[in-house]
């Protein structure tokens, strides 16, 4: 079998790229080692940020705007809403650190402003302002259902003629006579171009064609509660301990706190995470005390040494990378799909993705 483009990785990122390539008329096939969304897509809690490192912010801003239109464009509701995000400090030191950080964000064009505590109390009465020392409010950020986003791209991808191979781990990747041989247990496919969008598993595949990809796993934990009538407007974040709490459009609360460090182990589920998260959640939103936790899981982010993703063509002709999206992948996925799609089909490197070229390592 011959295709124009083979995309390795059936997450929201892989399918976003695959859709953008296939809709421009190229024969495209996606290879997913497990099931769709097995990796970080299905484990992310869904925050769509604009508060990210330097150059990524521009991409995130483009991503946010695209998220608004995706449900209409792709024909599937991604359950995206511009929830906004409240960023809180509970200690004086944290408040000082936030002030510095948010001055820097402001310079980057991020619209995130301090909110007086009386104002917080008035607008978000469920927040326990007694415990807060400072609060910032970013009204542009949003919350998306990561799997709904994935289904949206998958449906659109199918409509433009794309093919998917599930439970199809790419066992070998070789360059032969100017094209690639992509082999799974079931078949070997010849591809003119290959995109590796396999998150934290990208480096082991790239190694087969002699590339070193500096992507490292960072394991975090997340949980979801039973659904209730939506009342929590913005996502609440405490940067000092990685606490995040949001309510989805389906009414469930999703959250995370802390990190487990470097690990590939997807079966981690710690009791200390539940305790830490719960204490933090009721300290900030006391009304959550009676809400029941349904499920906890591990979420593995793919990180890079400089905090920026790897997007673009590699030193191997025709081989592209899209990984290293840390915990802000959902913010930039729509933009990467569009811009990398253009690069793969037309050879045009957009200035927005130029800083993320894999050649920098």
């Amino acid at each position: 079998m011959k295709v124009d483009v083979a995309v390795v990785g059936g997450g929201a990122l892989g399918l976003s790229i695959a859709y953008n390539v296939a809709k421009r008329g190229l024969k495209t096939m996606v290879f997913e080692a497990n099931y769709l969304g097995f990796g970080s897509t299905g484990r992310d809690i869904g925050l769509v940020r604009e508060r990210v490192v330097d150059d990524v912010a521009k991409l995130a801003l483009m991503g946010l705007k695209m998220h608004d239109k995706l449900p209409d464009k792709l024909g599937v509701n991604t359950l995206f809403r511009r929830s906004g995000c409240l960023i809180v400090a509970l200690e004086e030191e944290e408040a000082k650190a936030l002030e510095e950080k948010y001055k820097a964000y402001k310079r980057m064009g991020v619209q995130c402003d301090p909110l007086r505590l009386e104002e917080v109390k008035k607008r978000f009465p469920y927040v326990n302002v007694e415990r807060l020392k400072a609060c910032y409010y970013d009204k542009r950020e949003g919350l998306v259902h990561p799997l709904a986003l994935l289904w949206a791209y998958f449906e659109a991808f199918k409509k433009v003629g794309g093919a998917l191979r599930k439970q199809a781990k790419v066992k070998s990747l070789k360059v032969e006579g100017g094209s690639f041989r992509v082999a799974t247990d079931a078949e070997t496919v010849e591809a003119r171009k290959v995109v590796i969008a396999a998150g934290v598993y990208s480096s082991e595949l790239a190694k087969q064609v002699g590339l070193t990809v500096p992507v490292e796993p960072l394991a975090r934990e997340a949980l979801v509660t039973e659904p209730m009538k939506p009342f929590l407007g913005p996502v609440i974040e405490r940067p000092s301990n990685g606490f995040l709490l949001g309510q989805t459009m389906r009414g469930e609360f999703i959250g995370t706190i802390g990190s487990l460090g470097r690990s590939y182990d997807l079966s981690l589920s710690s009791y200390s995470f539940l305790k830490e998260f719960s204490r933090q959640a009721v300290e900030i939103v006391p009304a959550l005390s009676g809400l029941k936790i349904l499920r906890q899981w591990t979420w593995i982010c793919d990180t890079t040494p400089d905090g920026k993703p790897l997007i673009g063509e590699t030193s191997v002709n025709g081989l592209y990378l899209a990984c290293g999206c840390h915990d802000y992948g959902l913010s930039i996925i729509p933009a990467i799909g569009e811009l990398l799609g253009r690069l793969i089909v037309g050879g045009e490197v957009d200035p927005l993705i130029k800083p993320f070229s894999p050649a920098r390592f």
Binding site: K158, F277, S289, I293
Partner: protein, 90 residues
């Protein structure tokens, strides 16, 4: 006598019917973990205790069952209030 076509609910937490599952399978969401995520069955307060066997049965009837296993079970076994973990409620 005209009879309305009855709905067969296989998931009462998220109101998923047998028909929803069949349509999902036809659309390509045809393995257990994907069906779970696409339909929402097994992700509600019962965490699969009343619906998972139906998903497995329907997949089997459609000849799509690759192996005999359930979705990955995550803690807690039953829903637990946040206040229990935070120490607010005993």
């Amino acid at each position: 006598m005209i009879r309305m076509k009855a709905k067969k609910f296989i998931c009462l937490c998220h109101d998923v019917t047998e028909d929803d599952v069949l349509k999902a399978i036809e659309a390509g969401y045809d393995d257990l973990e994907t069906l779970k995520r696409f339909t929402g069955a097994t992700t509600g307060p019962c965490q699969g205790k009343s619906c998972m066997m139906h998903l497995i049965r329907i997949l089997g009837q459609k000849g799509k069952l690759r192996e005999a296993k359930t979705v990955v079970i995550r803690p807690p076994i039953d829903p637990v209030p946040i206040g229990i973990f935070s120490g607010e409620e005993g």
